[in-house]
């Protein structure tokens, strides 16, 4: 996996160079955005609702025992926006979108479609990688905003209806408002944008380097998802350290 890091950075560099062409490829960016939204929005909502819920469920009773229920909103709110929403949405997108990018580019590589593009003097990075990378980098932060809001809601529902916690909506959201600054949300969005770039690059790179026929496509997909998730978790730690340092 790590011998590819150089190639992946190279791909990042070349895509960055192609960025001025984004406007020309806007149709494809929209298509990709639509596809990403279509494939992941519902799942993201469901996932976030339950993550928020389980957070409240795990922390609530312990806090309630010690009479600290006024912190539940804050704990759920902070963990959601600083950590769980960006990380979980990144995993979801790696699984749903990264895999399909790797499969699509992989099959294009195997069936000589990439060669055909190049033979027509069409740069596959501009034509294929750029719109995907731009779309995923726009979509993931938006998805994370959704996820944060719905996660908060999930936490609220559990905090109110679970008999061991049983606080009011008002109490929950007051605690949440007191405990969270805009900067916390921005932190999460910054991380998610970085994760999006990782997913897009790893998946496109893996797809474009597919060898060995249809079986190779399957291998590329698995590798793209696994490598994305590993890199996301490693990057998550270091970004968190960095952001703490900046605070």
């Amino acid at each position: 996996m790590f011998q590819n890091v150089g190639e992946i950075l190279m791909l990042l560099w070349r895509t960055a160079w192609a960025l001025p062409m984004t406007w020309r490829q806007r149709r494809k960016v929209f298509d990709q955005l639509f596809e990403i939204g279509n494939a992941s929005l519902l799942m993201a909502c469901l996932l976030s609702l339950f993550i928020g819920g389980v957070l409240a469920l795990q922390t609530g009773p312990v806090l309630a025992e010690r009479g600290l229920t006024s912190f539940i909103g804050q704990i759920v709110g902070l963990s959601m926006c600083r950590e769980l929403a960006p990380a979980m949405m990144a995993m979801l997108i790696a699984g749903r979108i990264g895999s399909s990018m790797a499969a699509e580019l992989g099959s294009m590589t195997v069936y000589q479609e990439i060669d055909a593009l190049r033979s027509m003097n069409i740069n596959p990075i501009q034509y294929l990688v750029l719109p995907r990378l731009v779309a995923i980098s726009l979509a993931l932060p938006v998805l994370v905003v959704f996820s944060i809001l719905i996660g908060w809601l999930g936490g609220a529902v559990v905090s109110v209806y679970n008999y061991q916690i049983a606080i009011s909506y008002e109490g929950y959201f007051n605690s949440l408002r007191d405990g969270i600054d805009l900067i916390d949300v921005v932190n999460g969005l910054f991380k998610s944008a970085a994760f999006a770039v990782v997913i897009g690059l790893v998946s496109c790179h893996q797809g474009l380097h597919t060898i060995g026929g249809p079986r190779g496509i399957g291998r590329s997909v698995t590798k793209a998802v696994a490598n994305s998730i590993i890199l996301i978790l490693i990057l998550d730690y270091f970004l968190t350290r960095l952001l703490m340092h900046l605070d």
Partner: protein
């Protein structure tokens, strides 16, 4: 259209070598193709024909040796654009996410060479050239293998190339269409003098259209010359390859 577009280009491969993972696929390939010539390349499966074509159009860089178009190295700036090289891929290589019309017009639309209406007209015209009508809005997955092949020939023609490389243009085609495609290759060659390099396993096609034939085996050219000369080549591999047929001697097949 500029003047040179009516001429075709000459091509020279000089001592081309290529290995993948230490395995030699091309081993000192050396030949030239004249302007407007139909050059047929034959050889057993896996002998490196497709790899050679990819080198000829500049998709791969040789480990050693070079490809010259009109005397200029293929990778020097502007050569591919100026001389317009096109390749018809073995599998057709149509973009599965685009309609037939978008596939055929891709070169023009992506390089913004014409307004959309003109592109649509050119696309219909080129599709008609390969005998296809009214399939502009279909997706490649809705076409038969032979139709895909012909669409991909149309896509190559849109470039107005001076050199076309055909990778097995008649595989997957029924004999009637195969003959049509063969005739089409010749007609294009005669009409616009495009230089054509055709890879094929189809011996009738090869001997029907070739000005010269080259036979390739394990990354080397083992015979090269006009059809009659190649037919008379005494090299045992050449004779085996050219004479292999289905008329088995029943006694030689043990159950």
């Amino acid at each position: 259209m500029n003047a040179t577009a009516q001429q075709g280009v000459n091509l020279r491969a000089r001592d081309v070598c290529k290995s993948y993972d230490g395995q030699r696929v091309l081993n000192g390939i050396d030949f030239h193709v004249e302007r407007g010539e139909v050059f047929v390349l034959m050889g057993p499966s896996g002998s490196g024909k497709t790899v050679l074509l990819k080198h000829l159009i500049g998709l791969e860089v040789p480990d050693r040796g070079e490809i010259l178009i009109e005397g200029q190295p293929i990778h020097s700036p502007g050569v591919v654009d100026r001389y317009r090289l096109a390749m018809v891929f073995q599998s057709g290589a149509l973009l599965n996410s685009l309609s037939v019309a978008d596939n055929v017009g891709l070169y023009l639309s992506e390089h913004r060479l014409h307004p959309p209406e003109t592109i649509a007209r050119i696309v219909t015209e080129k599709l008609a050239l390969v005998g296809l009508k009214g399939i502009e809005n279909k997706l490649p997955s809705e076409l038969s293998g032979g139709m895909k092949k012909r669409v991909s020939i149309a896509r190559a023609l849109v470039i107005e190339p001076q050199l076309i490389l055909y990778d097995e243009p008649t595989s997957e085609l029924d004999p009637l269409i195969a003959v049509t495609i063969g005739a089409e290759i010749l007609r294009l060659n005669k009409r616009i003098h495009v230089t054509s390099i055709v890879v094929t396993h189809d011996r009738e096609l090869a001997f029907g259209i070739a000005d010269r034939i080259a036979l390739m085996n394990e990354g080397e050219l083992i015979a090269l010359g006009p059809p009659d000369q190649v037919k008379a080549n005494p090299h045992p591999l050449v004779q085996r390859f050219l004479q292999a047929d289905f008329r088995f001697n029943p006694e030689s097949i043990t159950p």
